[in-house]
């Protein structure tokens, strides 16, 4: 790069994320990266490898599992951790296992709260992590747009939007009072397009579910839900049909809406996304309750 050259916006975002991660790791005693196997996690992990290269990122990956992810996600997760050589900690809320919490019988709200929100708190408390990286972006949702890059959580893991620390320049305050923990969001300033473009440019591996393929689905509440295994509770008269679908966001398979699509390559996906008229989180059934629902979830400790 010639002297005086300007960085492109992706280069700026990349450098910013690396700076954030190095700062966070340096100010933490027990850092971890929350790894959800989605595209944002994949990008965040790739940035972590860059930030600490030639070292392996000095923290474990933590997957707060619900046992209801797509089977391809589990495969991808285990392969990724093995290839990079990072420790992978999988946490499944034991109460949920005991009570057999699932989205069919208990509904999405209880399922998400017990497996994900409570599970995350358990994983952090049990491992005594004082700082966790998360792949949330500010363009996802209005209350995320308000959150700092270094976000303090109370000993009860609560986010208090009224008491956020001032955050100036690239100077991050990583200090915590006893019991407090930090969530750090290195890709806060990335948009969905930035993420896809970066995946494309850097050839970052992603779960194949993001690309369209014939999959067995049923229609529910206006979207396609994939029948990923035989735990799926079909309603009366429902018969799975095969459709070419892909997913815009990945979560628990019974709660992830697919869209019909012919996008079989990454470029196709980006093209479809750019021409789309609805936002990404619409495919996520858990967020549709009310405009302020994400803020409420975050205050309760949701990531």
């Amino acid at each position: 790069m010639p002297t005086g050259a300007r960085l492109t916006h992706l280069q700026r975002l990349e450098a910013e994320a690396m700076q954030i991660m190095r700062e966070a790791v340096s100010e933490s005693d027990r850092p971890a990266m929350l790894y959800s196997i989605g595209k944002d996690s994949s990008v965040m992990l790739h940035l972590a490898r860059k930030a600490f290269f030639p070292s392996i990122p000095p923290f474990p990956l933590v997957h707060v599992d619900t046992t209801w992810k797509f089977s391809q996600m589990y495969q991808f997760r285990d392969d990724t951790a093995r290839e990079i050589g990072m420790d992978l900690i999988v946490h499944q809320n034991p109460e949920c296992i005991e009570q057999g919490i699932n989205p069919f019988d208990h509904g999405s709200a209880i399922h998400t709260d017990m497996w994900k929100t409570q599970g995350l708190k358990q994983a952090i408390d049990m491992n005594k992590f004082d700082l966790c990286f998360g792949g949330a972006r500010r363009d996802e949702e209005k209350s995320r747009a308000k959150e700092r890059i270094f976000s303090v959580r109370s000993p009860q893991h609560q986010w208090d939007p009224k008491r956020q620390r001032p955050e100036l320049w690239n100077v991050y305050n990583g200090r915590r009072s006893p019991g407090e923990t930090l969530r750090v969001f290195p890709i806060s300033n990335w948009t969905e397009l930035d993420v896809w473009q970066y995946v494309h440019l850097e050839q970052i591996p992603i779960v194949p579910l993001y690309l369209s393929a014939p999959r067995p689905v049923v229609e529910r509440d206006g979207t396609w839900i994939m029948v990923d295994d035989d735990r799926f509770q079909l309603r009366e008269g429902e018969v799975p049909e095969t459709k070419s679908v892909r997913f815009r966001t990945l979560g628990c398979y019974p709660l992830s809406g697919a869209i019909e699509s012919d996008a079989t390559s990454l470029l196709d996906v980006v093209q479809e996304m750019l021409l789309a008229t609805t936002s990404e989180r619409q495919g996520r059934l858990i967020d549709t309750d009310s405009s302020a629902s994400m803020e409420k979830k975050k205050q309760e400790g949701y990531f």
Partner: protein, 648 residues
């Protein structure tokens, strides 16, 4: 989402390539409450067709429910995402929004106008290239307009749009526009904003869309650019690119014994292998060997990049050090003049130990009484003993060790920084409270104080006075005497933590602790008791020499030895505190079960039982613990320290 739809549909690869090389512009909207900042950004997003259908549907529903526009679209609701904001119709915290046009990619921070939330405005402003300052055409330049303008100038934002908004409510009057412009320019001149690279006035209606994306027919008299055009084309120079090399080391990268690299982001200049560098504050010189990245070694790295550098020599480099251009290194100092912006409800306490985080380094910080505070309305310099929430002042500050720095390039700093281009990354800092760990303020370094440059320690005779000059207090001894179980330690502990938060360097000598170490060889015979006290008096004396306030918590039953301790100190340095608890009460409390043992004969020579306690005749402080709570007792001790001017 309508980007350039045709290109996307026809040739996605070409589109992505064009997008990839777009530059990034970060801007903020700021100004007084209700001037229309959030509405403006909502409008920008809407007019750029960047609002998704589902968001638009939600906006329509929200506007009907909580909107301020009687059912019409209330664009501010696209931004005000917290429930408290929507309920009150105001912005409380910064919202970051992202959009791109054919020409550029934008990150915009919508900041709150309320004075109470100024710290959130500063958060947004600190990373902005451009500031859009809104003014309500009906109300003109208000205090908050001035405060935000001053902060924009102070933080060194060199490109400013003054958007005179709500022109629809003043019939798009050119006279109104011109008179506000004239008034603003006068103020801009006083705060250095007139030296900005660009300052553009635009008549606007955020609500109706005039001059937001397209030039409006309602303001035929205005021939300048619409807001979007300005944002798309304004040239933003990053001074840091041509500045000398600065790379704060964030992390020492040691994957194995053969590799030792220094990871950081370049915040000034550029670097190539073979360049000579100087590592500060140590001042060591070395040469760059490699610039390591996961994509392969680089021939050159420039401002903004995050890299890992290796050096040709085995020099000592740690986190917080700055790798500088060999021929143009940063300055190193430990005392400065600085602008301080206070950001916490608890006022700034001069003399209290805080932490400063600057770059990747955290050091101890104390702040002197402000030289003055700035009245943002009149720009008058007012006398001040402290800074309260949202106040801005100029103070001298002292660190517990020297740091490398460059002056902060704020426009409002004017003359102060002449001669150096400065660097905001190596001149801006945040202030952290040691107890709560919260960020309580921010500051901008102007220059190192002469006295800090000139200190050559060999030349100074280091004696007690010299040592205590480095503290914000004088040395002294608080000697607490009283029966076992009378409450000496409890009170001493409270006193110590109070002093500590006041920035006083303290040390607590407690009977039980000292007897485990220094006085391990001593028992409880009378002669051992005397020797015990002699040693404690000596140790206290040394600590007073070192400049500390020493708290001694010992039964010390004999008058003579307490007198001996008093004689060891200079006049006014010794405070005798009698922690007076009647024997019966101490015996009732018996926290360590010692009285019981003494009574049963398992313990001999126990003060008050079979060994005498000689109460002080006229102690400096007399605490009768059956009528005074420990907190209040501690305050009596603090008051005595004040009365002797040991602390202020």
């Amino acid at each position: 989402m309508a980007h350039s739809s045709e290109l996307i549909a026809d040739d996605i690869e070409a589109y992505l390539t064009s997008h990839q090389y777009k530059s990034l512009l970060r801007f903020i909207t700021c100004g007084s409450v209700d001037d229309g900042k959030s509405t403006l950004i909502g409008r920008l997003l809407y007019e750029s067709h960047l609002v998704f259908e589902d968001h638009l549907a939600a906006l329509e529903a929200d506007s009907a429910k909580v909107g301020t526009q009687g059912g019409d679209l209330d664009f501010a609701l696209l931004l005000d995402g917290l429930s408290a904001e929507r309920e009150q119709g105001i912005t409380i915290d910064v919202a970051y929004r992202f959009f791109s046009t054919e020409k550029r990619k934008f990150i915009v921070a919508d900041t709150p106008g309320h004075e109470q939330y100024t710290r959130n405005m500063v958060t947004g402003a600190s990373t902005a290239d451009v500031a859009v300052i809104l003014i309500d055409a009906r109300r003109g330049v208000l205090t908050q307009t001035r405060r935000h303008s001053y902060l924009v100038s102070l933080l060194g934002i060199r490109n400013v749009v003054v958007a005179i908004n709500k022109m629809d409510l003043v019939d798009y009057s050119q006279d109104t526009f011109e008179s506000i412009k004239a008034e603003y320019l006068e103020f801009a001149d006083q705060i250095g904003l007139a030296d900005a690279d660009h300052i553009q006035f635009i008549p606007l209606s955020a609500l109706k869309g005039d001059n937001v994306v397209e030039s409006s027919g309602n303001t035929g008299w205005y021939d300048g650019p619409a807001l979007m055009e300005f944002l798309e084309t304004v040239e933003v120079d990053d001074d840091r690119v041509s500045a000398p090399l600065r790379m704060p080391v964030q992390w020492v990268n040691r994957p194995n014994l053969d590799f030792r690299g220094f990871s950081g982001q370049i915040v000034g200049g550029s670097v190539r292998p073979g360049d000579s560098v100087r590592i500060l504050p140590a001042g060591t010189t070395s040469t760059v060997a490699r610039i390591v990245t996961m994509d392969g070694d680089l021939d050159e790295a420039v401002t903004g990049q995050s890299v890992t550098i290796t050096l040709t020599d085995e020099v000592d480099v740690s986190r917080g050090d700055i790798i500088c251009a060999g021929d143009d290194p940063a300055e190193v100092a430990d005392q400065f003049e600085a602008h301080v912006v206070w950001m916490h409800e608890d006022e700034m306490l001069p003399g209290r130990p805080y932490l400063m985080k600057i770059g990747a380094r955290t050091v101890g910080l104390t702040i002197d009484d402000p030289k003055y505070r700035v009245d943002v309305n009149t720009l008058e310099q007012l006398a001040a003993g402290t800074l309260e929430l949202n106040e801005i002042g100029v103070c001298n500050i002292a660190l517990d060790r020297p740091i490398p720095f460059d002056p902060y390039p704020g426009l409002a700093l004017g003359e102060r920084n002449s001669g150096s281009p400065g660097n905001r990354e190596t001149g801006g800092f945040v202030i952290i409270d040691k107890l709560t760990q919260n960020t309580v303020g921010a500051g901008l370094l102007h220059f190192a104080l002469r006295r800090s440059h000139n200190i050559h320690w060999q030349d100074v005779r280091v004696d007690k006075d010299a040592r205590s000059e480095m503290n914000s207090h004088r040395p002294g001894v608080v000697w607490m005497t009283g029966l076992s179980g009378s409450g000496k330690s409890t009170i001493a502990n409270i006193v110590e933590s109070k002093l500590h938060t006041m920035g006083v360097r303290t040390y607590l000598l407690d009977g039980d602790n000292v007897r485990h170490g220094l006085n391990r060889d001593l028992g409880f015979t009378d002669s051992d008791r005397v020797e015990n006290i002699r040693r404690i008096a000596e140790v206290s004396g040394l600590m007073v020499d070192a400049g500390l306030v020493v708290l001694v918590s010992f039964i010390s039953p004999f008058r003579a030895e307490r007198q001996l301790a008093r004689d060891r100190m200079a006049d006014g340095e010794f405070i005798e505190v009698h922690v007076d608890t009647p024997l019966e009460i101490a015996e009732q409390r018996d926290p360590k079960g010692l009285y019981a043992k003494a009574r049963s004969g398992d313990l001999s020579n126990f003060t008050g039982i079979d060994s005498p306690y000689e109460a002080p005749v006229s102690p400096d402080v007399h605490i009768e613990t059956d009528s005074i709570e420990p907190e209040a007792a501690a305050d009596m001790v603090i008051a005595a320290l004040r009365a002797r001017s040991i602390i202020t």
